[in-house]
């Protein structure tokens, strides 16, 4: 039911007052009653006659005033007044509720999004009566929830229909929508109900200002406490087909350190548990060696002291162990047993050896390995150089040492070189962008770089003139170099990210593929040119099937959408904080107060009447 208009209110008052005046001013109906001794009444009235008449008239007058007051209060309650003291005067208001994945944070109960809906409803109390309001949901795109309306109930229902998404918020979409819908409207206002985890670009702010749109934010959320799994991947080890390596990137978005427990599960069974302390705003990677018997892996992070962080969505991540595609490498060498044996340990690497005099090019291979051979021809593929490199050799260095090592470089993962003895190395002229991974700048021993757009890794010494070939580091170093040069990791299927459409390959001649999600639902996807586009809605494992071939995929929340939850202002002043209705105690509204006053007067009238009955 909508409230009365002013004209309706006045009409209702006129009719009710007229009726009351008629009822009170007309001659009252008298009850005829036989009494045994009227003389007694005569004596009483004679003693108090004038006062009784005045008292009677006064009682009727007061009763009339109370009746007028009761009807007026009820009529005003139906009118549902919204005095200006409860909010500013408004024109056209677009209320946008941030529904990005970061709004799933639970630092406010039950979630920031639910709280945002409540705040948006509070806004309606003042604005809906004073101007037109529209409500929309903001995620990666805008979802209008209502048209322009003044009906508070319609707008409340629209707000209740909103659902939080798993996508990142795109504020620019809101600005575009606001500029379109608020164009040429009276006193346009845009209120964003958000935690401000995503900031508004200065350019978008200028666009709003130029269009004369008042921007306000209604803040929700207060905590930045969150430890997240930003990425999780499992890859097979090149040197051991029965082992795999899990990489988990953790992040603490809070300004305080937090002890956490990291659990790795294969299927549903924990296979590794470790405790560590994440420093304030620290991001770290954990590498774990695990068995490669399973395919589905989960990583879970939790607070050690039991108190949960504010964003549970990024506390679990999923990964699938898949085998990398086979690679072909061309070994250009006169023959070196240690080298060939070390390369043969990678079961997924096919080596073809030719002698240097037969080398022409390496087209068709994923990698070319030059052993004591430095061709001057253009490299078409990534290259690994042993005792050589794509540079000018200036001389030799006797007994160089591995005194400087870039421990974080992927080439040196699980590799120890510090006590390796080298008889002599080349003194070379490096390019500016070349990276010295081991050795000094003046005497580099292990270098990585790019030539003609192709990456290379080079040892500046002959491994035969060192004891490196006798170390376990040698095959690992080779595996790391091959893996990095062939971008094997990048060929592995990376987890899908929620809220984004991503392609996945299917056999080229299929027209449709089916996708089964974590909830068991089956969807049919249209394939084009050997790929389908997948936009996952839930984190978990997916099975993509086409032409009888199935592949397992993992989907995780986008850390950029989910993990950073620190509340912020979306824009600097003059974008101001929106005012909600100044709440009356116990959630009362003006109409409820008016109705309450009318009820009190009615109870008072009833009390007077009851007193007369008892008398």
């Amino acid at each position: 039911m909508t409230a009365l208009s002013l004209a309706q209110l006045l009409a209702l008052l006129a009719v009710s007052w007229t009726l009351l005046l008629f009822l009170y001013l007309r001659r009252p109906e008298r009850v005829r009653r036989v009494v045994p001794y009227l003389k007694l009444w005569d004596e009483l009235v004679a003693a108090d006659g004038a006062t009784n008449r005045q008292r009677t008239a006064a009682a009727r007058s007061w009763s009339l005033l109370r009746a007028l007051a009761i009807t007026t209060l009820i009529a005003l309650a139906l009118f549902d007044p919204r005095p200006a003291a409860f909010g500013a005067t408004f024109g056209t208001t677009l209320i946008a509720i941030d529904a990005g994945a970061h709004m799933r944070a639970t630092d406010v109960s039950p979630s920031r999004f639910a709280r945002a809906q409540d705040l948006a409803r509070n806004l309606l109390a003042a604005r809906a009566r004073a101007g037109s309001v529209s409500v929309a949901l903001l995620g990666s795109a805008i979802t209008p929830l209502s048209g322009w309306s003044r009906d508070e109930r319609t707008l409340r229902d629209a707000i209740s229909r909103g659902r939080v998404s798993d996508e990142a918020t795109r504020l620019s979409a809101l600005v575009d929508y606001a500029l379109t819908t608020l164009r040429e409207r009276a006193r346009p206002e845009l209120i964003l109900v958000s935690d401000g985890a995503v900031a508004l670009a200065a350019r978008d702010l200028d666009r709003l200002r130029e269009a004369g749109i008042e921007l306000r934010q209604l803040s929700v959320g207060h905590s930045a406490r969150n430890f997240a799994i930003r990425s999780f991947a499992v890859r097979p080890l090149a040197s051991d087909a029965d082992r795999a390596e899990a990489m988990i990137e953790l992040e603490n978005t809070d300004r305080q350190p937090h002890p956490v427990e990291l659990t790795l599960l294969e299927g549903g069974t924990p296979i590794d548990v470790q405790r560590l302390t994440l420093g304030a705003r620290e991001r770290t990677q954990q590498f774990l060696r695990i068995g490669a018997s399973g395919r589905e892996y989960r990583a879970r992070v939790a607070a050690v002291n039991g108190s949960a962080d504010a964003q549970p969505l990024d506390d679990v991540a999923y990964a699938v162990l898949t085998q990398p595609p086979p690679r072909r490498a061309l070994l250009v060498s006169e023959g070196q047993r240690y080298l060939e044996t070390a390369l043969a340990l990678d079961a997924r690497l096919t080596i073809e050896r030719i002698t240097p005099n037969r080398y022409a090019h390496a087209r068709g291979y994923d990698l070319v390995i030059f052993d004591r051979f430095a061709p001057t021809t253009r490299r078409e593929v990534p290259s690994l150089w042993l005792a050589g490199g794509p540079w000018r050799v200036l001389g030799t260095v006797e007994r160089p040492f591995f005194d400087t090592l870039e421990r974080d470089d992927p080439l040196l993962r699980f590799v120890s070189l510090r006590d390796v003895n080298v008889r002599r190395s080349q003194r070379v002229e490096l390019a500016k962008a070349d990276r010295v991974v081991a050795g000094a700048r003046a005497t580099p021993l292990l270098v990585a770089g790019t030539r003609a757009g192709q990456p290379f890794v080079a040892l500046t010494f002959d491994v035969r003139e060192s004891d490196l070939v006798l170390r376990t580091a040698f095959p690992i170093l080779l595996a790391n170099a091959v893996s990095q040069l062939t971008a094997a990791e990048s060929r592995l299927e990376t987890p899908l990210l929620l809220g984004r459409s991503q392609p996945r390959a299917v056999p080229p001649d299929v027209e449709t593929a089916s996708l089964r999600g974590p909830d068991g639902r089956l969807r049919t996807l249209v394939a084009r040119k050997g790929e389908v586009w997948i936009r996952p809605g839930r984190a978990g494992f997916y099975e993509l099937s086409a032409a009888g071939v199935s592949q397992l995929l993992a989907a995780n929340p986008d850390p950029n959408a989910v993990s950073e939850i620190a509340p912020r202002r979306i824009a600097p002043p003059p974008a101001s904080e929106a005012k909600t209705v100044r709440a009356l105690p116990f959630g009362l509204t003006p109409w409820a107060l008016l109705l309450g006053a009318a009820m009190l007067l009615l109870i008072f009238e009833f009390g007077l009447a009851a007193r007369g009955w008892r008398a």
């Binding site: 009252p28 109906e29 008298r30 009850v31 005829r32 009653r33 036989v34 009494v35 045994p36 001794y37 009227l38 003389k39 007694l40 009444w41 005569d42 004596e43 009483l44 009235v45 003693a47 108090d48 009784n52 008449r53 008292r55 009677t56 009682a59 007193r611 007369g612 009955w613 008398a615």
Partner: protein
């Protein structure tokens, strides 16, 4: 029931009883005021004087029950009973009767009683006294709403040497505040009146004062007064109040 030479029994003292018949020895023993009752050596004449004025209209049925009960007891005791209806005069009188065999006549008489007309109990009592040779017990059954004042009627009876008892019949019929057209039950006079709670309170106070004044008048004349509310059943009134007061043994 009246003064006589033979002691019959004790009964509780009622206001208005003659102090000469109070047994002080019994009081000393029991600390209760008791009155000696004597056997009447001659037969007792009992007169039930029923007010049938217009003000009794709302109480007539109750009063008739009461009168019938009194008559029955009197006939049972072989007293010489007469029922007399009066207002400003004697309206009617039943022939003296003795014994239960005459009870039908008395009831037939009571059946024909109507409450109407003005009240003047003194005039009515004077008319009664003038036509009654034989003295005895006069039980006045009335609401005592008398413009001339009820004590005057009591004086008439007392001076005529009737042993008098008064049964005042009252009802709790009080109007609620509101607008009324009050009609006097006897004179049919109409008065428009707004009864306010204050006026109602004054009315109640006036009624209470009136009741006190009547009670005082009865005490001064040594006439027992019993006030019977129509909310009390007539059976209770007869069995408890009247027996305790010794009006009937």
């Amino acid at each position: 029931m009246g003064p006589g030479s033979e002691f019959a029994d004790y009964r509780d003292y009622s206001p208005g009883d003659d102090y000469r018949y109070v047994d002080w020895n019994a009081y000393a023993r029991s600390e209760r005021l008791l009155v000696r009752q004597h056997e009447q050596e001659t037969e007792l004449a009992v007169y039930a004087l029923l007010d049938c004025s217009g003000s009794m209209a709302g109480k007539l049925a109750y009063s008739l029950k009461l009168t019938a009960a009194i008559a029955y007891v009197g006939l049972l005791r072989l007293d010489l009973l007469s029922v007399v209806t009066l207002r400003d005069r004697v309206v009617a009188s039943s022939p003296p009767a003795r014994g239960l065999a005459r009870s039908r006549e008395v009831l037939e008489f009571l059946r024909g009683v109507r409450a109407e007309g003005p009240t003047d109990l003194a005039a009515g009592c004077r008319a009664f006294v003038a036509r009654t040779k034989r003295r005895g017990l006069a039980i006045l059954i009335s609401d005592l709403f008398d413009p001339a004042g009820a004590p005057a009627a009591l004086d008439v009876l007392r001076r005529a040497r009737f042993e008098t008892r008064v049964l005042r019949i009252v009802d709790a019929d009080v109007p609620a505040p509101g607008e009324y057209e009050l009609v006097d039950a006897e004179t049919q006079r109409v008065r428009r009146l707004a009864i306010t709670p204050e006026l109602l309170a004054a009315y109640r106070t006036a009624r209470e004062r009136e009741a006190e004044a009547l009670a005082r008048a009865c005490v001064e004349r040594h006439i027992p007064l019993h006030v019977l509310d129509t909310r009390t059943s007539a059976e209770d009134a007869i069995l408890r109040l009247l027996r305790r007061s010794g009006m009937f043994r």
